[in-house]
Symmetry: C2
Subunit: 289 residues, 2 copies
Amino acid sequence: MELKTRINSAIAQNIADARAEPAPAQLAAALDYACFPGGARVRPTILMSVALACGDDAPRVTDAAASALEIIHCASLVHDDLPCFDDADFRRGKPSVHRAFSEPLAVLTGDSLIILAFEILTRAAGQDPKRALDLLGILAKRTGMPNGICAGQGWESEDTIDLGAYHRSKTGALFIAATQMGAVAAGHEAEPWYELGARIGEAYQVADDLRDVLYDEKVLGKPAGQDDLLGRPSAVDQFGVQGAIQRLNDILSGAIASIPSCPGEAMLAKLVRKQAEALTPVAPAVAKA
Amino acid sequence: MELKTRINSAIAQNIADARAEPAPAQLAAALDYACFPGGARVRPTILMSVALACGDDAPRVTDAAASALEIIHCASLVHDDLPCFDDADFRRGKPSVHRAFSEPLAVLTGDSLIILAFEILTRAAGQDPKRALDLLGILAKRTGMPNGICAGQGWESEDTIDLGAYHRSKTGALFIAATQMGAVAAGHEAEPWYELGARIGEAYQVADDLRDVLYDEKVLGKPAGQDDLLGRPSAVDQFGVQGAIQRLNDILSGAIASIPSCPGEAMLAKLVRKQAEALTPVAPAVAKA
């Protein structure tokens, strides 16, 4: 709860900066609409948890990193919802940005938020230039081409999909960014934190595949059955529902085992276990027939 | 000519990095398609000219800055051409990215190129961290909200347009970035170079308004008469054709007068004069009736 407040406060301040004079009013409003009210803020929560586990000795750098990562994630949701991709009318229980504003404003909202994320990290150089530059490098790598979420989305235009590369970039990338940026924000090395992020990303991908099959639009807050409808590869196709749930648990055990030695190791393990419970679908009452 | 070779070589190397394994093939191809063959490379030419005028003592930083700026410009063209904006079928004499590839790939191409620009500048920290961070700050400010080209495009969704803010951000922003980034890449202060960039930007806006009225699609390499069609404010509406040409010359004289004292001051004045000749429409044979 406290983490979420800290995250939201950082994002709110950064969005306010982007909305300052002489910003055009509608685009300014759309930036806020795309980021608030937020979802579970999972990626920045992981980032901050890793930073805290590593000592969090530069909290303003951690705030910048968490805010930048979540803002990039929000940007990706706005663009993913566009008519030419998912054509989603709803997101987080309210009309998607292109439905609430317009398609041009949705494109510009995504663009502006991507740029804002890099601007936030650049400003963090005022606290610590070395960490800011390392954070910029990680965020760029996990967002763009050839390894980031853009690459992941790009795979969906290919006739033949490299499934490993697809999942690593589409879902894994921002979780890898989360663990690595958390470590770097607190002055630790990025590399040892790759595996935890990659495994949490895998778990989310499987959980998302399960939710897409098991839950309806009301629970998801967005259209259900999209993977099947859009012909996207899914863990449920590959392993069945029970097999996918088993795989989810295996991945999360691996994630816990991969946590690098640090002061907050036990706290992090607890967090991953909590995420595991939240991720595993256990609501047959709302499952689709 | 030599400058253009240097610029294209820097961009080509950066695009190659973004296309590396495991990039999805079509998006990888679209990144290249959006940047080559280029247009006049005006913005990076100005950037490099300013850097040279200031001594160009860190040429790899200058290369990174020029490449990042042009790549952001190419990204903006790809998104501006989308059906929800200009719906342009052609750009630089060939099909626009969404026509040659697809709309999803055009959105992703723009996103990936924006991120790549920031990644290029982040990597330049290997040469000089302080300059790299200053360049990142300038590029972010002149690209995003509330002062960058996204803001400029955002103004077109408003019922009431702040014309000053609109032109400064829509066209001026990347010229301000060009002069300031050129100075910073060579270790000079950014601030004294604001006015030269702003004035060149104004001149381009007026020249673009004139070309849009006077030339046909074949000459422009993109649809003509777009400003009128899309109800965009234009200097020709405000001053008439002859008035706009006079204004263009006044602005360029002001630009030359504003050049800060530096070793290459005379060379820069010559460059601006050359740009002025290239900008002023003098081809009645292709003018529309």
